[in-house]
């Protein structure tokens, strides 16, 4: 579009030249008006006339007269005000200053309004805007004048000090006077910061330093914490009431530094401090401490370390207490108790903070593995529960205990040791028929399965399968006996056999013994039957874990004795002899002397004595080969059936050693497998990397010793799974 636009230019707008005298006249008019405004006599002035005068001066390019003139008038006025204000005494000073300031601010708004055209069209950087010019003059001639500034700040700080000491002060006056420092700041509140804020923060630190030092030495930690919380709330309120909001974070930081950060160590260590609170489960005080410490840098680290240290210490005491070392049940019960207690502290006081939970868990890990008996104790604890310890608990309680067991289990570094013990005790429970409930057994196992996977529980599940299959096999055997030809020739005995798949069950130390002919015949029959039904299988008899019932005929009475197989063999010897030495017993049964000792003990030293020692000796005396025993024909017992413990409930030291040895054997296999797995995928690897990788892979089951890994590597090299690089002996190559 090329249409030319014709604009109408009105005549009167042609730039007029303004005479100097006219300019002077207009300025004087404005000056008089400004002075009137400064004396609060504005109501008779015409705004439009003044505005038009300023407008005319500016468009006639005489803005400079106006601007310099204004500066002078403001200068003069503020100097007059200074004298007036400085003369006021005591509290009058603040009131006078404030009322003059309020008026001055209003006047400056009016002057700005009148001179708006000057302000918008004439004033250029670095000149101050009209209103800012007024603020600057007030600052220069009144506020930061030596007669005002120091006096004002001292009085303001004095009032704040009074308020902190509980007196009531005029908040509105404070707000107005403090805001004045902000208003006269040209940029970034610099006057406020320099003249007021800095000194205020210093006074605050000073106040709280002395208050906190005094308070904490004369009061308990709990009282101090409450005091701090109240102080912080008060300061928050102070910010809202009369400080500039930009001071908020700085003020709170100063208070936190003085009230919390500087006393953290004291609050932890003092007699009524953190340690005592943790010891005495003072959840509310700890919660408050947590909230306050959270506010300062590294505060929670201190609290966390203190708590974790306490947990480690308590745990350490428990796992090393002599009574607990003897009583696995008490040990695990105490551990569960402190776990519960600390979980309560964590949730009630420490907001279940992740870091806190982790450090408590690390503490548990460290003290639980301090003692290599823990795996076994835990297995024994469950053993006792599953043998009937759960009898009086409902499902929910049982679940809680089982979960705690899993929790402790999770902290064990040698889970394979635990597994061996658990399998061992499970086998014993199943074989002796002492398991309280198969459901509970399975629940427990499923929890381990969830935690560690199939591999961990496959043997345990295998044991249950064996138990079921054994029952079927036994039924089959009984049918077989009824139809068997040989059966007719034999006296009837009730024999029960359990077939245990090798590998699922712990290998019991091999023991041999001579069975009486009748039993031997039965065993042979069973072997014949079983191997016929399952070709290719081999049966090895484990007589040492069996049980038997024997009829004991006394002159006046008959009892049934529930015995172990070994005890039965020993008792049967007395059918043909009156007195027998231990040596003779061993010879007659082919049982090892140690087992003889263990089996005989319950028979003569328990509540009911079926054997007696001749001549009678002190009970406590160790048994020797030549000690002689005879039947106790004077046995007095109201029960018909008398039950004897086969051995003591906890395992003997050799048995425990045996279990440990088996763990070591298993570990060798696991380490071999891990090394081969790693090398197969990596082909070549430096020694150290292999060790690290191997440790990592096995860590969920146990913590292998480096020396053991080294030995296994050597062994694998011998077996030609690996070889060393000829040029670098520290590197291995996988040989396919």
């Amino acid at each position: 579009m090329s249409r030319k636009m014709i604009l109408r230019v009105p005549k009167f707008q042609e730039p007029k030249r303004m005479e100097k005298s006219e300019a002077q006249r207009l300025w004087l008019l404005l000056k008089d008006a400004i002075v009137e405004v400064q004396h609060m006599n504005a109501s008779t002035l015409s705004f439009e006339e003044l505005y038009r005068s300023s407008y005319s001066l500016v468009i006639a390019k005489r803005g400079d007269i106006l601007y310099t003139g204004l500066e002078e008038v403001n200068n003069h006025h503020t100097k007059n005000l200074l004298d007036k204000i400085a003369q006021a005494v005591d509290e009058r000073f603040l009131i006078e200053l404030n009322s003059q300031w309020q008026q001055y601010k209003l006047q400056q708004i009016m002057i700005h309004d009148i001179l708006m055209y000057l302000d918008r069209m004439y004033v250029k950087e670095p000149q101050l805007k009209v209103f800012d010019l007024g603020m600057f003059k007030w600052k220069q001639n009144v506020l930061i004048h030596s007669q005002i500034n120091d006096r004002l700040v001292r009085m303001l700080l004095g009032l704040i000090h009074m308020e902190r000491n509980g007196e009531v002060i005029d908040g509105a006056l404070m707000k107005s006077l403090i805001q004045m420092y902000v208003d006269v700041s040209l940029k970034e509140k610099e006057t406020y910061k320099q003249e007021f804020e800095e000194r205020f923060l210093l006074a605050t630190s000073h106040f709280y330093k002395s208050e906190s030092n005094l308070f904490i030495t004369n009061n308990s930690c709990g009282a101090y914490l409450k005091k701090v919380e109240i102080r912080l709330i008060e300061e928050e309120a102070r910010i809202k009431q009369y400080l500039d909001e930009s001071t908020g974070p700085k003020l709170i930081k100063a208070c936190e530094d003085e009230l919390i950060a500087n006393h953290m160590q004291t609050m932890i260590e003092m007699e009524t401090g953190c340690r005592t609170m943790i010891q005495n489960d003072r959840f509310n005080e700890l919660k408050l401490m947590y909230r306050l410490f959270q506010r300062v840098e590294n505060g929670l680290v201190h609290l966390k370390n203190e708590f974790a240290g306490y947990v480690r210490n308590e745990g350490h005491k428990i796992v090393n207490q002599p009574e607990n070392l003897k009583d696995p049940n008490a040990l695990i019960t105490s551990l569960i108790e402190i776990r519960n207690r600390f979980e309560k502290t964590l949730s009630q006081s420490f907001a279940n903070n992740r870091d806190f939970i982790n450090s408590v868990n690390t503490a548990f890990e460290s003290f639980l593995n301090e003692n290599d008996k823990l795996s076994e104790s835990l297995a024994l604890f469950i053993d006792k529960k599953l043998r009937g310890g759960f009898k009086d608990s409902n499902d929910q309680e049982i679940d809680v205990i089982m979960n705690k067991v899993i929790l402790l289990f999770r902290f064990l570094s040698d889970k394979d040791v635990f597994k061996k013990f658990y399998e061992h005790y499970l086998a014993k429970r199943l074989l002796s028929g002492r398991s309280f409930s198969e459901d509970l057994e399975r629940t427990m196992i499923s929890k381990f399965k969830q935690e560690c996977g199939n591999q961990f529980t496959s043997k345990m599940e295998g044991m249950f399968t064996d138990m079921r299959l054994s029952k079927d096999a036994l039924d089959g055997f009984k049918n077989y006996l009824q139809t068997s030809v040989e059966m007719g020739k034999l006296p009837k005995i009730d024999m029960s056999v359990r077939v245990l798949t090798q590998g699922f069950w712990p290998t019991f130390p091999p023991h041999s013994c001579t069975l009486p002919p009748l039993l031997s015949q039965y065993c042979d029959l069973f072997t014949k039957y079983y191997c016929h039904a399952h070709t290719g299988r081999r049966i090895i008899w484990q007589t040492n874990i069996g049980t038997a019932e024997v009829t004991f005929r006394l002159p006046k009475k008959t009892h049934v004795l529930a015995l172990s197989t070994y005890q039965m063999l020993i008792m049967l010897l007395f059918n043909d002899a009156e007195k027998l030495s231990l040596k003779q017993m061993a010879a007659g049964t082919s049982i090892s002397f140690m087992d003889i000792q263990r089996s005989v003990k319950p028979l003569y030293s328990g509540k009911y004595k079926v054997l007696k020692r001749t001549p009678a000796v002190e009970k406590s005396k160790e048994l020797s080969e030549n000690d002689i025993f005879e039947l106790n024909l004077n046995l007095k017992c109201k029960l018909h059936r008398i039950k004897f413990a086969a051995t003591s409930q906890t395992d003997s030291e050799p048995e425990r050693q045996h279990t440990r040895q088996r763990v070591d054997e298993d570990r060798k296999i696991e380490i071999d497998a891990a090394i081969v797995r790693i090398m197969k995928s990596r082909k070549a690897l430096i020694h150290n990397d292999l060790i690290v990788e191997c440790t990592k892979q096995l860590s969920s089951r146990f913590v292998p010793q480096t020396s053991m890994i080294k030995k296994r590597i050597e062994n694998l090299i011998e077996r030609e799974y690996l070889e060393r690089f000829p040029d670098d002996r520290r590197r291995y190559r996988y040989l396919a």
Partner: protein
């Protein structure tokens, strides 16, 4: 809308603008001080300084043509302005005098087109 407020014979008027331009007869615009002060920096200053105009509830202009003032007041009420060759320059002058930044901008745009 707000334009209706200005045109109807509304009893809520509380401020009068009188224009005595050259020798023409006085032209009056009735309006609402609340609207003037909230939509114009100039009128805000005029009213809040509580000077003579505020006391007398009126203001008098000598240097503005009535039509131009009327357009300006319409603009204050509606935010809209009709610009043409006739009024553009005068509207620019008045908007500059009253420091009405948005209006200055739209007139400048119009002239430059």
């Amino acid at each position: 809308d707000l334009k209706n407020l200005l045109n109807s014979s509304n009893e809520f008027f509380d401020f009068t603008i009188n224009i005595n331009y050259q020798s023409q007869k006085t032209y009056s615009i009735e309006c609402h001080s609340a609207i003037l002060s909230s939509r114009s920096e100039y009128f805000k200053g005029l009213l809040r300084s509580k000077m003579k105009e505020y006391q007398e509830r009126k203001v008098e202009f000598f240097d503005i043509r009535p039509e131009i003032m009327q357009s300006f007041i319409n603009y204050i009420y509606t935010g809209q302005i009709e610009l043409n060759h006739e009024n553009a320059i005068e509207m620019l002058v008045i908007s500059r005098k009253f420091c009405s930044e948005e209006l200055i901008q739209s007139i400048t745009n119009y002239i430059q087109k």
